[in-house]
Symmetry: D2
Subunit: 347 residues, 4 copies
């Protein structure tokens, strides 16, 4: 089969021919229809410090995908968990199930997590083998949408953690694909005011398409002052920090209302100076670090939000390429002109 | 001023002339624009066992209203809490602030609650005096909508308690005005499936207008079987029990999913036989009894849902009468042809 | 090996010789040291309606146990999950891992639960095969205590659900073994007032040994009045309903404070008349049905409470018998003279 | 009456004669028996940047106290809220009751908070006037203990926020008086492992007296490595950050388990560099900033923990002085030889 493989240390990926993966008794083999290209894949392409420290080539890249079940392991068939022909997506974090986080409802924080496309072979290929316990039926969601349920799930996790979105005020800092998804999820979940902020006008336009009531450009707008205006001076109930930048953190602390919450997903590449007295303690704030998706509460919420049409991520999907045009896919992500980029693998 | 008063034990109310109420230092005087007629007012009109045991005539009736601030107590003026001309509504439960429930976030369960229009003079009158702490600015919501924020708040409390509505499945049993409001609130709060049930076709039609995905008639539909069909056999995440009837309770228990929740607002007039083993313990259900509105979290959520346009209760308002036509207002409630009935008092 | 087997429909169990069970790749084989005898085992012995409707003889009985790992499946060895010689206990509910409850943190409500000693072979035997995912290291807890972590876990689940025990007031209705454990857990978890109630003086004495501040006899004490006296008229924060009796339910509703919580574990054999208006809605109560143990949050909490010495269940263990004296074990449970009864299988 | 007054900008306080304060209709006048000296009072004594920016002399100092009710406002008498002779303490944050935080269960974050002894006259005096809504009956707790319920309440808030202390593992960083109280509260609330850390041997000794299972000296112990040893490599469930120091923050992040919680009370005087990616996001941590005490849930929990004897703060009280020896009280706090210091005002 075809697969995009990091064959050796260094920049780029190669489209090569590799064997179709074998499956174990608890696995299913999935014919990949669509796959999503993630910022992580850009890091891997670029072979940055993180990537070169973690990946052991050769590895098939890609962790966001959806497709069709084509073969079942013995246990899966016996238990009737899936059938050949089922359209599915999958959680790309393979977890141990035995550590304390796994056994106490925090599987997304498993101490032995392996990520497909990073620690083991991934989804930028014609086929992928996945443990059935990681696989989710699409329930009517098409595979091009299914292919982005991993990052959409990041947004669902970020927006819904804390549980008080209906009737609340939400600020989304950073309008990359996950930020834009967060705007749509916040609207779908009943937020009464959703404000988004990004330097990039393409991304601000996407945020508006996803339902943001207001978008700001931090280069020219005083985001915190505007938030105060919009909230009677109080600040927002929830900040979704998607920028991963110290300036975003500073805005988050200043824009959150007393007793509010900051859910942080954007991964900073450096440290931030925090005035804990002024910004956390005296404000009574709650901060929460978002890793992946709650397994599988987030997936089930997300599937319902997608299948019901409440949350429509399609405006964010700006580019579609075949597998062999991975360089173009990486290019549009790198130059900031893209929302979400999808690889059309089959079908 | 004019006021609808239960002047003496017995059926009915009288429109009589009474003095404009005096206000204390922490009170405001409100010119009533609109008032809502509640099932409770019907009980008072009919002078049933509950009413005759609780009310001490003469009492001005009515607890749902909105209007304009026309006079301020000293403390209110000094603190700038309200200004003459503000459009406002108010929580009708006057609480002590000193009991353990009041001091631990459960003011709606205050052991010394006094209800306007029941335990003290109410709102079916040209003017009402209210403690400023009970008064809420309308924030742009018009007074005819403001007049029904009391029952709409019952719906908000019922739907949002438990905190996991976005992406969830909700069954509303009983489509009186509060049930219909609950349908709209559940949709506004991001429920992915909202099903409602009532014997009355007028009410089912209102539930559809409020956004129910499906409505059932328990006389002809097997509600529980239909719920199972719609939820893959699992049952719904949340049942809002608005019927107050043992048959509704039975449906609620059967239709809730394992680990689900039943929030009960409908007040039964008799007992229900419950199979706690089958229906609560083995299903791991949570039941919650809804009294009033959380003070004032519910009000703030509700004002935002109304002001943003996410939740539009207007389809439920089927009748409007002037104060002197209270008998007609009571009549349409009694004969089941009404949704919500409003008295147009001024303006 | 020896095993107590329900060999055919009817009263009793037989101690017979059966093969040591074979294990799969994800299983461990455990040499049973101690096993607990549960009320469920009494139902099975008596072959009552529930038992005859559910069990398919022959079945090895027993679901509470602890012992020593003597053999590892391939996957277990490869992953290093357990080692031969480890002292362990196990959750007796074998769950599917694939249904919605399993995938959303409610594995204890799995729709395909199989219980050892009921639906498949159990622990009243020299050896038992268990999936490794159900097995818990004892972490220094001895096997006679480990053998009762199943019912002690019921108590932990009942007491801790809701999360506000420290500094709270707790009423335990019914002082069978799990009720007595609940008393001890409530004390260990920082309840400031723990009151217990039972008709049986032996059980009341055990409840005192477990730390109850007060015990009442419902035959002679007005439990609700006494609770009011002890709580300044307010009622208790939490009722643990362990009696499974309509009279217990009535006391629970009356004794809970406004806004309080009733966690129900006692399984009634018949229905209860409930006045939902007075007892649930106007009081703003929360009810929660307790099934099994949260997997595995409850187990980890329990192991720590036991290993630290905070919670010492030993006073409740009143009788110990060898496997062949199962009839005596059943006898002391039946006649009400026992707390918890343990079978000494090996060691 | 006598009062310790910051009469003018600059170091120190003066014991002067001032009039007994007048009370309004909703106030009570309290004869102060005991008062606690807080780090805040040291800042005020020293007239540091914070103090000189906030206080407007003359102000009577002191915000921790307990005493006897000697006079009632009209409203208080009419409602029977308190009686002359009641022994009471009081929350020193006077809140507005009207802002959004006040109206949504976050009164401790009121945007108009006034603190006694800082923004208005305080408790280092023979008498203090307090709004009845801030006053708490001692319920049998003696006034010397009642005088420290303000800082003990900080500890209760810090330890119990998050709600999962029973059976958990807790690290207290910083063993000043509130840290030592936190150790005692964590033990009372059922934590299975309580570890404390401080450079000061006097404070470590107090932490042991309060029940810490282990105390570490960050000068010589690798606190994070020791925590890993004690928790099977996982880290603790809850860190109570009482040090207010960047080094404490670093230990908190490293010592918390994946999915764990850091409740921060120690007020830093400078910023901290935070690696949000490594320390918050990838660990899935929750941080919470602790301001004051939840009004009045914290007070009610605390009164029960004190009255039941579960939490005994007395070992932390190392010094007692009469009002006129305030300089000595400040001195022992400043030189680090004190735990909690109490002023004996009357009785």
């Amino acid at each position: 089969m075809r697969a995009l493989v990091k064959t050796a240390p260094g920049i780029g990926m190669e489209l090569v021919d590799v064997p179709i993966p074998a499956i174990g008794g608890r696995d299913v083999l999935i014919r990949v229809h669509h796959a999503g290209v993630c910022g992580t894949d850009l890091h891997i392409w670029e072979w940055d410090a993180w990537a070169s420290g973690r990946l052991k080539p050769p590895v098939v890249i890609g962790h966001e995908f959806a497709g069709e079940v084509v073969e079942l392991g013995d246990h899966v068939r016996r238990e009737g968990l899936f059938a050949v022909g089922d359209l599915v997506t999958a959680e790309g974090h393979i977890i141990c199930g035995d550590c304390v986080p796994c056994r106490t409802g925090n599987g997304h924080l498993c101490v032995r997590t392996q990520i497909i496309g990073v620690d083991r072979d991934g989804a930028f290929a014609d086929y992928i083998a996945m443990p059935a316990s990681n696989v989710m039926s699409l329930g009517g969601v098409p595979t091009d949408i299914g292919a982005i349920m991993d990052p959409a799930g990041n947004a669902v996790h970020t927006v819904l953690e804390g549980g008080e979105v209906p009737g609340s005020t939400v600020l989304v800092l950073g309008c990359g694909p996950i930020g834009c998804f967060a705007v749509g999820v916040a609207r779908a979940a009943g937020a009464s005011l959703v404000v988004a902020s990004d330097f990039n006008p393409v991304r601000r336009a996407l945020a508006i398409q996803m339902g943001a009531h207001h978008v700001f450009d931090p280069a020219t707008d005083d985001v915190v002052a505007r938030i105060r205006d919009l909230t009677g001076g109080l600040g927002v109930d929830l900040v979704c920090e998607m920028s991963g930048h110290p300036a975003g953190h500073a805005q988050a602390f200043a824009a959150a209302r007393p007793g509010g919450r900051i859910n942080m997903l954007g991964t900073p590449s450096r440290t931030t100076e925090v005035d804990f007295a002024r910004d956390v303690i005296f404000k009574g704030l709650t901060l929460y670090g978002v890793t992946g998706r709650r397994m599988y509460t987030t997936w089930i919420q997300m599937r319902r939000l997608l299948a019901s049409g409440q949350f429509d991520p399609r405006p964010v999907i700006t580019h579609r390429f075949p597998l062999e045009r991975i360089a173009d896919a990486i290019g549009v992500i790198k130059d900031g002109t893209a929302g979400k980029v999808i690889l059309e693998v089959a079908g």
